[in-house]
Amino acid sequence: MALDSKVPQGPLKDKWTDYKNKINLVNPANKRHIDVIVVGTGLAGGSASATLAELGYNVKAFAYQDSPRRAHSIAAQGGINAAKNYQGDGDSTYRLFYDTVKGGDYRSREANVYRLAEVSANIIDQCVAQGVPFARDYGGLLDNRSFGGVLVSRTFYAKGQTGQQLLLGAYSAMNRQIARGKIEMFNRHEMLDVVVVDGKARGIIARNLVTGEIERHSAHAVVIASGGYGNVYFLSTNAMGSNVTAGWKVHKKGAYFANPCYTQIHPTCIPRSGDYQSKLTLMSESLRNDGRIWVPKHLKDVEAIKAGTLKPTQLKEEDRDYYLERRYPAFGNLVPRDVASRAAKERCDAGYGVNATGEAVYLDFAASFVRYGTEQAKIQGINNPSDAKIKELGQEIVRAKYGNLFQMYEKIVDENPYETPMMIYPAVHYTMGGVWVDYNLMTTIPGCYAIGEANFSDHGANRLGASALMQGLADGYFVLPYTIGDYLSDDIRTGKISTETPEFEAAEKEVKERIDFFINNKGTHSVDYYHKKLGKIMWDECGMSRNKAGLEKAIQEISDLRKDFWQNVNVPGTDTEYNEQLAKAGRVADFLELGELFAKDALVREESAGGHFREEHQTEDGEAKRLKEFQFVSAWEYKGEPKDAVLHKEALEYENIEVKERSYK
């Protein structure tokens, strides 16, 4: 099948408006007869469920957690971008579009990104109307901060809990519709397959995670909003339950999977401490507004710090290497995430890592305490303040901005970041790749949509900070509700979809067989044993830098591990009870397939772009080297084993932006 992105004709800035003017609509009386399934209740799924229900569709929403409010969007800290230009610092829709395409290293689809930038301002209006308590200044107006890879302040925030507040906003909109009976909510349920009838997505097979019951659910369209697949690395900043299963199941039923190798390794996470570690914790990128990243300039100081004979605070300014400010004077500590992560790896690989594992750099707030403290002393009219007073005043400001993050750091690491610099290291955080969608956010299965992190479309090879929340809500509140109507306008006479059909029968049978296998296998190794092994292969060979030999090795190792898993995995308990190991076994089985496709995609992409860094393709000073012949989306078609997947290319055209060497110097 040839890929058709269905991008509307006409000038970039008019595409979305013209599109909306011309699409087919479903009249309100007919919407009552149309059902939509939404899998996942994060920012994308929650906002889509609420909006579709408001419009009049009957929505069935599914979450594996015990409440939609717990989806992992809740953990997003720093903020949400919007081209409001409230600061009058030169922001505009075009500039947000430009920054996003450039930040994504010219590997995203122009028309989708422009639409995203266009609807971004509405998101803020909408959220304020819903009662989201964004940070405000003393005049009562909304405050902004800066994020990496941009030169304006366009990020709106609610302390370090922006994702939580936005998700609670979407959850509240869902609650209103649940109360009206327009959303039927299925908590503690997991989608285990999509059902395709006459070539169209017409339902799902779901499992009740409490009783183990397998259920059939039909609908006129299915929306996948199940987030990213960062947990293929075992250790990531994702929630423990985050998984690729919904996206992978639709892939196996005909949806192409795009750019699986584009993964974001976030530069500021708390370093790992031991083998028992279950997950990694992010320290928001917003901290780079005020924190400076450094390692010692001399190896002897590194050794002394590791030995405990030297404290980082004792090291003189001239003995510190603020390597981001040194290498990238224009953007300094606010370079995009992929650049910052690689720079940290470069220093640590050279032996300058400051903790026992050699995998940590400092994030230091001392300078901002002085800067804010001096300003506060002036505001409060304190003459000749002492250094201690300045520090105290400065710390108050930093506490107001990032207090919860500092507290979280202290609880985990057991060090006070107000007194000693934080230690950070990059960790897997977000996946730009995902299910391939066209301009309508429809996958290659008609009637099956993918929104939010689950799709691939907006962030190219690297996502800028504070853009994930923007995309999730843009897709769910403002894009999908239009595009899905155009499709559903053909379904007004279809009537209720029956679940008593051979297609539902077959899908359910397949799901049940797999569960029976897990329960009856009684193997020798736990599910986590395999997940950890897979994670290690992924991190070692498909992490911050990749090369041909390593990727080939990874493909072989993952394939072998998968065979081992299907022979020797051990799942305790039964399938008719709450059984977390059983649920996890299914997720890891899918990760074991995705992981191999991921490595294959990375092997085929013989260039460096954004988060995908191939050692063979770098400039003299170690920057990513893009190649013109790889200016395309890799969309993989399922053909059985991952090694047999077929590559389809969607060429990327840039008509409104000049493709340049991405420079942050």
Partner: protein, 246 residues
């Protein structure tokens, strides 16, 4: 360190439960409490037995999923943390640790340490929202200035993660800190004024219907709340309810 764990095991909502003892050795100071539980479960699985079921997801203290009653305290001995952020450095070699689920009539046990908190969702369905459609055609976000103090206090209330520690720790199993926080967030913002009276009445009515107890001003909820939600929110909810009722 080496520890003895006394853990509540219960097959499902309809079965009787009991405390079961487990031994665990070589626990590192740096482990989180749930990582210690992971290690225990791995041992149990390798012995061919059923691991201990517990709720958890984000493991960074924000999703509100984890919920353990540890040595008689919701989320254990540390302050300002959820169970997932509690670290083993809070315990000593040789300790016996008692681990139970949230105990409240409105939170029935699902299995072992997992409880059903859907009562919280139903209270939100009763009015935990502002009735505005997500059309994108609302007024500009800066058209109504909100005093910083009000916005900040609303944010402090909105910080609630809905974990249920307040209920678990309250001798009356009261949910008033949770409901008070949601009512307060909206009561403090201009956008919440239009439906303020109905909201507080409906949410409180649903809270009572779910079988949560009343507040007798002990304040244990505020102490155990991992997000430091203030008792002021209960007072504000009562004021709002009075205002709505007269």
């Amino acid at each position: 360190m080496n520890l003895t764990l006394k853990i509540w095991r219960q097959k499902d909502a309809n079965s009787e439960g009991q405390m079961v003892d487990y031994q665990i050795s070589d626990v590192s100071d740096h482990m989180s409490f749930l990582e210690m539980m992971d290690v225990l479960n791995e041992q149990i699985i390798n012995k061919g037995e059923q691991p201990v079921a517990f709720d958890h997801d984000c493991r960074e203290g924000i999703c509100g999923m984890c919920s353990m009653y540890i040595n008689g305290e919701a989320h254990g001995p540390d302050r300002g943390v959820t169970t997932c952020q509690l670290h083993m450095r809070m315990f000593n070699d040789g300790d016996t640790i008692t681990i139970e689920p949230w105990k409240a009539a409105a939170f029935p046990v699902v299995k072992d340490l997992v409880v059903d908190r859907s009562a919280f969702d139903r209270i939100q369905h009763a009015g935990g929202y502002i009735s505005v459609n997500t059309s994108g055609n609302t007024q500009d976000a800066n058209s109504i200035p909100i005093p910083k103090q009000d916005a900040d206090t609303a944010m402090d209330a909105a910080t609630c993660i809905g974990c249920g520690a307040c209920v678990a720790t309250c001798k009356n199993s009261s949910a008033m800190l949770f409901v008070g926080a949601k009512v307060s967030q909206y009561a403090l913002l201009p956008q919440g004024q239009v439906e303020a009276a109905d909201r507080v009445k409906n949410m409180v009515a649903q809270m009572d219907l779910e079988g949560f107890g009343n507040c007798t001003n002990t304040g244990a909820c505020e102490v155990e709340c991992p997000k430091g939600i203030s008792l002021d929110n209960i007072a504000r909810m009562n004021r709002e309810l009075m205002k709505a009722s007269i």
